[in-house]
C-alpha cells in the first residue's frame, strides 16, 4: 500500500476539510463555547452533524450500523479537528470508545453504539489516576460483589467526563500496580449510584473531570472483554487513541504553521516583510521539514494498525512522539514569530499552543513514547 491517501481517502478529506473549516472553525466552536463558559466544552449541534455525515460511527462495524472504516479515515477527521481546534467528543467517543465497544458483547454494542452513531451519546475514557500517563499503574479497585463488582477509587483527566453518558473505566480485579494482568474494563453509566464527577476546565478550554467512585455497583454485564484480561482491549484503545491524538496533533501543527507562514508574509518591520529575513526563513523551513516527517509517521502508524501489522505498536509510539515534538516546536516558534500579538487572546496562535500542550499529555507524551520505543527495541 503506498504511503499516501488513496482515492477514497482523498475524497473523504475533500469533504471533511471544507466542512470543518465552515462548521468547526475556531470562531464558531472553540471561542463560541469557551466565551459562554459551556459546561460540556463542545457543541452538541456539531456532534449531531458529525452523526449525519457518518463520522460519529465511522469506526463501528457495518453490522452495528457503522461505516467499518479504519484509522486512516478517522485520522482525516482528526487532522481537521486539530487544524480548527474544534472541541469535539470524536477522539474519546468515536475512536477510543468505539474501539473498546467493538470488542464488547453484542448486548453492550446494541446498548451504546446506536446512540453514538446518532450523535446523541458521548463517552468518557477513565484511565489516568495520576498527573502522568501510566496505564499499568492502575490502583482503582473492582471487587467482586454478588453477581457483579463494586468499584472504588479515583480517575482524572477524563475528557468530557462530567457530561459523558457512559465512562469506560479501567480498574483492578487482580494483580498489583504496575502489572498488566488483573486489569478489567467496565462500562459505567453516568447516573450510577456512588459516582461523582467534578469538572475541571483545562488550559485549552476542554472540560476534563476528576471522577470519584464510592462503592459503585455494576453487574457482570458491564465488563468489556474478559475479567483480569482488560489489558488486551485497553491496548487496542490506547493504540487507537494515541494514533488519533497524533493525527490531531499534526492538524494542530499544520494550522499553526499556515498561520505563522502567512503572518511572515504580511508583517512588515524595518521597511521589509519579516518573512524575507533569513533568520526567520530557516526556522520556518525547519518547521516545515519536521511537520512533513511527523505527518508521514502518523499515516504509517494508521496504515499498520488498519492492516493489523505486528509492527504497529512501535510505529504508534514513533508517531505520537514525533508528532508531539514537531507540533510543539511549531506552536512555540509560531508564538515567537508573531511577536507581541502572539501573546494576545484575540489572536488565534496562542490557542494552538494551548491545544498542543493538552494533546501532548493525552495517552502519553513524547518522553513516554520515546521510552516505549527504547523498550520495544530491547534497551
Amino acid at each position: 500500500m503506498p504511503l499516501y491517501h488513496d482515492d477514497d481517502q482523498t475524497m473523504l478529506q475533500d469533504t471533511v476539510r471544507p466542512f470543518m473549516a465552515a462548521e468547526g472553525s475556531i470562531e464558531t466552536q472553540l471561542r463560541h463555547w469557551r466565551d459562554r463558559e459551556c459546561k460540556d466544552g463542545f457543541g452538541h449541534a456539531l456532534w449531531k452533524q458529525f452523526a449525519e455525515m457518518g463520522f460519529a460511527g465511522m469506526l463501528a462495524g457495518e453490522e452495528d450500523g457503522g461505516l467499518g472504516m479504519g484509522h486512516v479515515e478517522a485520522g482525516i477527521v482528526l487532522e481537521e479537528i486539530g487544524r480548527n481546534l474544534t472541541p469535539s467528543p470524536f477522539l474519546t467517543t468515536s475512536v477510543v470508545g468505539v474501539t473498546a465497544l467493538n470488542d464488547a458483547s453484542k448486548d453492550m454494542r446494541d446498548q451504546w453504539l446506536p446512540g453514538i452513531i446518532a450523535g446523541d451519546t458521548v463517552l468518557g475514557i477513565a484511565i489516568d489516576e495520576g498527573a502522568k500517563f501510566r496505564p499499568t499503574h492502575i490502583a482503582m479497585q473492582a471487587e467482586r460483589s454478588g453477581n457483579g463488582f463494586k468499584l472504588n477509587g479515583r480517575k482524572q483527566f477524563v475528557i468530557q467526563g462530567a457530561s459523558a453518558d457512559m465512562l469506560i473505566v479501567a480498574a483492578r480485579t487482580g494483580g498489583s500496580v504496575g502489572e498488566t494482568n488483573g486489569i478489567t474494563l467496565f462500562a459505567v453509566e453516568k447516573d450510577a449510584a456512588g459516582l461523582s464527577a467534578e469538572a475541571a476546565r483545562l488550559v485549552d478550554s476542554a472540560m476534563g473531570a476528576h471522577v470519584a467512585f464510592d462503592n459503585v455497583e455494576v453487574t457482570a454485564d458491564a465488563v468489556i472483554g474478559e475479567v483480569d484480561q482488560g489489558w488486551d482491549v485497553l491496548t487496542k484503545m490506547l493504540h487507537a487513541g494515541q494514533t488519533g491524538a497524533a493525527a490531531e496533533t499534526v492538524g494542530v501543527g499544520a494550522g499553526a504553521m499556515d498561520m505563522t507562514v502567512n503572518y511572515l508574509k504580511e508583517r512588515k518591520q524595518f521597511g521589509r516583510t519579516i518573512g524575507s529575513f533569513q533568520a526567520l526563513q530557516h526556522r520556518a523551513a525547519h518547521l516545515y521539514s519536521e511537520m512533513e516527517i511527523a505527518r508521514s509517521t502518523v499515516l504509517k502508524a494508521q496504515q499498520l494498525l488498519d492492516e493489523g501489522d505486528e509492527g504497529a505498536p512501535l510505529m504508534v509510539s514513533v508517531a505520537k512522539a514525533k508528532a508531539s515534538r514537531a507540533a510543539n516546536l511549531v506552536v512555540r516558534e509560531g508564538v515567537q514569530m508573531h511577536g507581541g500579538i502572539g501573546m494576545t487572546d484575540e489572536y488565534d496562535i496562542g490557542l494552538y499552543m494551548k491545544r498542543d500542550r493538552a494533546l501532548a499529555e493525552f495517552m502519553g507524551d513524547a518522553n513516554y513514547h520515546a521510552n516505549r520505543v527504547a523498550e520495544m527495541n530491547g534497551y
Binding site: L3, Q281, L299, K300, V318, N371, V373, G378, Y379
Partner: protein
Amino acid sequence: MPDLESFRSETRAWLEANCPAEMREPVRDEADIYWGGRNATFKNDAQKAWFEACLEKGYTVPEWPTDYGGAGLSPAEGKVLKQEMARIKARPPLSSFGIWMLGPALLHFGTEAQKQRFLNEIARGEIRWCQGYSEPGSGSDLVSLQTFGEDKGDHWVVNGSKIWTSYADQADWIFCLVRTDKADKYRGITFMLFDMASEGVSTKPILLISGSSPFCETFFDDVQVPKDYGDGVTGYVGEINRGWDVAKYLLGHEREMISGMGGGGGMGSLGKAVMPSLGEDAMGRLDDPLLRAQLAELDVEALAFKAMAERFMDELKAKKNHPATPNMMKYAGTELNKRRHELIMASGGSEALEWDSEASNGGAKSRDWLRTKANSIEGGTSEVMLNVISKRILELPDA
C-alpha cells in the same frame, strides 16, 4: 496485486539462488564496494559472481529500460526488488556516479545515441564516471563557476579547475560543468562529457579530516573536448549553454540519493546494538540513563525519517510531491545521519577514538563520524536547502 506478489516470490527465489552469503555481509571497507571501470578488479569471487548475475538479469540498473542495460522494472517492481534486497541485506552489485547521477540526466536529456552508448557502458560497469561541479571559488554559489571552454568550432578548449571531484583519480570519464558564455550567468554553462585520460587533465587527491582521500582537485590545462564523438554521440548533454538545467535536475537526484543514504532508518536501532557493550541496570535498561534517552530519541527520529522516505518515494513515483521536496529530504536525512554518528561515538566511548587499531577496524567509527560532517555540505549545504524550502515551498519573499 497478484502480479506484484508473484514478482516478489520470484525475486526472493532468484536472490536466494544468486546472492552469495559474503555479499550479504555489511560493507567493511572501500574494496567491498564494486565501482566498475577500466581498471576495476574484484575483491573476491563472490563479488564477481554477484555482479555478473545481476548484470545478466539487468539488476545493476533494474529500473532502466532493457535497451540500455536495465531490467525495465516498473517503479512498483523496483521497490519490491529493493525491499527484498534489503531483507537479506544484499550489497549493491555495482556502485557508481554513472548509475546515480549521469544515468538519470541522460535518461532525461540525452540523445538516443548517447543513451545507447553511455548508459550501456554504465550498466555493464565498463566506465567509471566522476562529477565536475564545484570549483575553489564556487561552492554554494555554484552558478558562478569559472572553468571556461573556448569554442574552436568542432571542439572546445577547456581551462580551469574543479574541486571535491569524488574519486577523480580513479575515474575514466567526467561529466563537467563548463562556462561557454561569460555574458550569461545561468544560460552560459554547458554540461560536457570527456575522457579523464585526455591530454591536459590532472588530479590531486585531498586529504580529509577522516584520513582518507575520496575527493580530488582536478585541473584542466588546454583540454580538447569534441562536440561530437561520432555516430551522433554528442560531447555535451542537453543544449549548449543550457547545462544549468541539466545540473539542477541532477542536483535534485543527488539530494534524493543522499537523503536515501542518510537517516539510517533501515539500519536498525543503535540503542539495541550498543546494549551488550554498555550493559543494563537492574530494570533491564541500558545502564546510562541520559545516553539511553538520546538513543531513544534517535530511534524515534530514524523510524520517523524512514516513514518519510517511504512516503517520499511513493509520492515521487505517483508524481504527487512538490518538486522541491528532495531539498527537505536532503536536509533532514543528512542532519539525522550526523546525529546518529555523534551517538555512535558517544556509545563507543574511548574505544571509538582508536584511529588505526585492528580492534577498531582501522578506526572505522571515528573515520565514519568525521565523514558524516560532509553530508550536510556536499550536494548543497543544509543552509542552502533551507533557503530553497523557504522560497520554493513556503514561498517566503526574497530579501
